[in-house]
């Protein structure tokens, strides 16, 4: 990273910003320039106008996707479309036309929402009228010249007789009253009562005392008529909605143009955001920012030659915070995503991507360890890499990582003798009457299930190497800073102490019984004295030097003794690598179980068909769960055990000022 400072003529500022934006390799900061004479421009209004336009186009695109879905297969891997600069200018020139189109779409959508609201209202009305469907007069019928109609609801469940008894109890015998229950539902009774006008008050009082209430909404005509009218209305609204949806869908031809326009507005909004932060005087403006070292000369040249700007490039000052941009070879860059998910290295610290990439791929392979699964990964990732060239950079790195992990998985699979578990042997025994005692597919190294202890020792050895590398990186950082005392007392001491301990422990009874016949540690025993010597040197170094900043000698030794206790941390870290064995066994044995289940139907045509079906389902499942396990635990070994020895994240990612494109990628005709 280098720091670039620019001072240029104000009239060029938009052109310069546009250029920097399209190059996308400068992180602009303006906090450093604070001169009271310099003013900042208020661009909030323009910026929000552009943001709103971009949003409108986004909305329109969403609607198009909803009403006229785009046919696309592997959308996950389809990258941004490539658009030429001319096309962008063309759209820019006719932007009013596109805005009009978008407005039409959005207003059509607004109408659709309104129509949907009307439908909802109608439906509620219909639901409300349902209990009244048997009423064959209008709900607000008043009656005739001599009679009065009372229509309403009563709480509780009533029958015709109960209702009649209730209304006629004050009218004496042979009352001229007709009481009918229209419907009862949910403990509410809809009732209609006809009586003579002179009795009306009496009847109404009788009803009221039972909790009678007139309907809250009244419709014109009989309820049945009203409902059919409402249903007609719903049909009508639906037709309207359909027409509007068609109208929106008919704009789908402009989808590509909309995408370009949306990104155009987004880019401009970003430009105006930055413009608002730039300090400027009457005729000049100032910029400051971080530029990757390799791009700095280019930018400097363009700015000075094309715009006559004054540019100065300087190295960052000691201890100055600066953004981090990872830079690795083609193989190692594939694990950058994993590193980023933990946190980028701070400036001045080592980027562990290179070393991590090898261990990552090896450990992943050990945990997944199957020739067949590995080949599936290699083929799948290979196809994606070849076919979808323009996928987003981060995703591409991820796919590449799995490609390499696939190769490693296949290699470890063949070392362990696993190809879809014991597929080859199962098929040979089930369908080809193979009955030899030797497996058909022999392990190139050895079968882990046959001798798990041997592999466990190897796993711990790999773990120790991994951790030593971690400690080594920390040591390298000490040496880079010229801190030799720190290197000897914090790093070398542990190397000596741990290596000595391992050499002392290996020939003991304990390890001998763990290793069984697979290892002969007796040669190590000859190193006995040497081992003891380096252990003691390491121990003393830790005891005396680890807490060297403490002035009080008693405290210093006591704290040093406590640091020696840290050896338990090393023990648990190394034991943690036993997951390499456990997960490797898990994927292999479950694959064997699948094969065994598949072969249960014997040697016949149906048996073969069932074999294929069970094989496909079972191995897909095992593949999915174990690739997840391998991924998660490889990350864990890196993040917890490896990074725990030296790494601290917290670096700021490099965030250059660039085009904020969501849909498109602009193809530049000439290299800038």
């Amino acid at each position: 990273m280098q720091k670039l400072s620019v001072c240029a003529n104000k009239k060029n500022r938009k052109a310069i910003l546009e250029l920097l934006q399209s190059m996308g390799c400068m992180q602009i900061t303006t906090e450093g320039i604070d001169d009271p004479d310099l003013k900042k421009m208020d661009t909030q209004a323009q910026r929000s106008r552009f943001e709103k336009s971009a949003q409108m186009f986004d909305q329109a695109l969403e609607l198009l996707d909803q009403y006229a879905p785009e046919k696309s297969g592997m959308s996950l891997f389809s990258g941004k479309e490539e658009v030429s600069r001319e096309k962008l200018n063309e759209i820019q020139k006719h932007q009013q036309k596109y805005i009009a189109k978008v407005n039409r779409i959005l207003s059509a959508q607004k109408d659709i929402t309104e129509h949907k609201g009307t439908i909802l209202k109608d439906e509620n009305q219909i639901a409300y009228l349902q209990p009244w469907m048997n009423l064959d007069v209008s709900m607000n019928a008043k009656g005739t010249k001599h009679t009065q109609v009372l229509i309403g609801t009563l709480p509780g469940t009533w029958t015709d007789e109960q209702l009649y008894a209730a209304v006629s109890k004050d009218l004496g015998e042979a009352a001229a009253v007709d009481a009918r229950v229209v419907s009862t539902q949910n403990d509410v009774t809809c009732a209609a009562v006809i009586c003579l006008k002179k009795d009306a008050e009496n009847v109404e009082n009788a009803l009221r005392s039972e909790g009678f209430a007139k309907p809250s909404q009244v419709v014109r005509g009989t309820p049945a008529q009203a409902v059919s009218k409402l249903q007609e209305d719903i049909e009508l609204q639906k037709k309207e909605i359909e027409a509007l949806e068609k109208q929106i869908a008919s704009e789908s031809g402009s989808r590509e143009d909309f995408k370009i326009a949306a990104d155009y507005y987004r880019t401009r909004a970003e430009k105006y955001r930055l413009l608002g932060t730039i300090p400027q005087s009457g005729n000049a403006f100032f910029l400051e920012g971080w530029v990757p070292k390799k791009d700095a000369p280019d930018i400097e040249k363009i700015l000075t030659e094309q715009f006559g700007a004054a540019v100065s490039v300087e190295e960052p000052a000691e201890g100055e915070e600066q953004p981090t941009l990872l830079h690795n070879n083609k193989f190692s860059e594939s694990v950058e995503g994993v590193l980023e998910s933990y946190g980028l290295p701070k400036k001045g610290h080592v980027d562990p991507t290179f070393i991590m990439s090898f261990f990552y791929v090896i450990f992943f392979g050990m945990m997944f360890a199957d020739g067949g699964y590995g080949l599936v990964m290699v083929i799948a990732c290979g196809i994606v890499l070849l076919k979808f060239k323009d996928i987003e950079a981060g995703l591409r790195k991820m796919v590449k990582l799995f490609f390499w992990c696939g190769i490693s998985t296949a290699v470890w699979g063949f070392l362990y003798g696993g190809f879809f578990g014991d597929l080859i042997d199962t098929v040979a025994r089930t369908f080809f009457d193979y009955s030899g005692s030797e497996p058909v597919l022999k392990a190139l190294w050895f079968e882990p299930l046959g001798n798990p202890m041997r592999l466990l020792i190897y796993c711990m050895l790999f773990g120790l190497i991994h951790l030593y590398f971690g400690l080594g990186i920390k040591g390298w950082e000490y040496l880079k800073d010229g801190d030799v005392v720190g290197f000897v007392s914090d790093i070398l001491s542990w190397y000596l102490f741990l290596t000595g301990l391992v050499l002392i422990l290996l020939p003991t009874e304990l390890f001998g019984s763990i290793a069984g016949d697979s290892f002969d540690f007796s040669p190590v025993a000859k190193l006995g004295t040497l081992a003891k010597a380096i252990t003691i040197i390491g121990l003393l170094l830790i005891l005396v030097m680890q807490e060297r900043q403490t002035k009080n000698w008693v405290l210093r030794i006591l704290l040093g003794a406590y640091d020696i206790y840290g050896v338990t941390g090393w023990l648990s870290d190394i034991l943690s690598y036993s997951r390499l064995l456990a997960l490797g066994l898990a994927s292999g044995v479950i694959a064997n179980v699948v094969n065994m289940m598949a072969s249960m139907f014997g040697k016949s045509v149906i048996g073969a068909i069932l074999f294929i079906v069970i094989f496909l389902v079972g191995h897909t499942l095992n593949f999915a769960i174990n690739i997840l396990g391998a991924y998660v635990h490889t990350n864990r070994l890196q993040f917890v055990e490896f990074f725990g020895k030296f790494y601290e994240g917290g670096g700021e990612p490099f965030a250059p000022f660039k085009t904020e494109n969501k849909y498109i990628h602009i193809k530049e005709e000439k290299a800038v």
């Binding site: 933990y342 798990p452 898990a586 769960i625 997840l628 998660v632 990350n635 864990r636």
Partner: protein, 160 residues
């Protein structure tokens, strides 16, 4: 065919490792699944991430199955001659060898499920912190792996 008590105990151990570890995984995956469904209802784009987090407590069930399988093939139940006349002491030894993954599988899967729920919360609020969120449930799983390792080593080193 008659079975010795030892054979029954060995089979019981084999069964328990699938039963208990499977129960734990079902519990953990279930807990995490409820949280994951809640996140997806708000933000369907997080589906892949929360699905991975939901699956993490599922491995204990697999480990249980693994030990069961190794035990069953040890006592010859999967082809070959079943050791139906096994002594009670041998049977109990195999039973004991199955216990680590059975019990630790149950408990760790449940707690891993709860940790997954919390991690799904991280993804819901900060989807870009997925790498860190994944680490917390993976920490719990360590103990299931250690138990698995001991069960495998014990079962495969017992001589009938």
């Amino acid at each position: 065919m008659s079975f010795s008590m030892g054979f029954v105990m060995a089979l019981l151990g084999a069964a328990l490792s699938t039963i208990l570890a499977g129960m734990g995984s079902a519990w953990g995956v279930g807990l995490a699944g409820q949280a994951a469904a809640g996140v997806v209802s708000e933000d369907p784009n997080q589906f892949a991430k929360v699905l991975i987090l939901q699956l993490l407590p599922g491995t204990q069930g697999i480990y249980g199955l693994l030990v069961t399988f190794i035990t069953l093939s040890k006592i010859g139940l999967l082809g070959g001659a079943a050791a139906t006349d096994m002594s009670l002491a041998t049977g109990l030894t195999i039973f004991a060898a199955c216990l680590p993954i059975a019990i630790v599988g149950l408990v760790s899967a449940y707690h891993q499920g709860r940790t997954s729920v919390a991690s799904i919360g991280i993804v819901a609020k900060k989807p870009d912190q997925f790498g860190k969120a994944m680490l917390f449930p993976a920490m719990v799983e360590t103990y299931a792996i250690l138990a698995l390792l001991i069960s495998i080593l014990a079962v495969s080193n017992i001589t009938l």
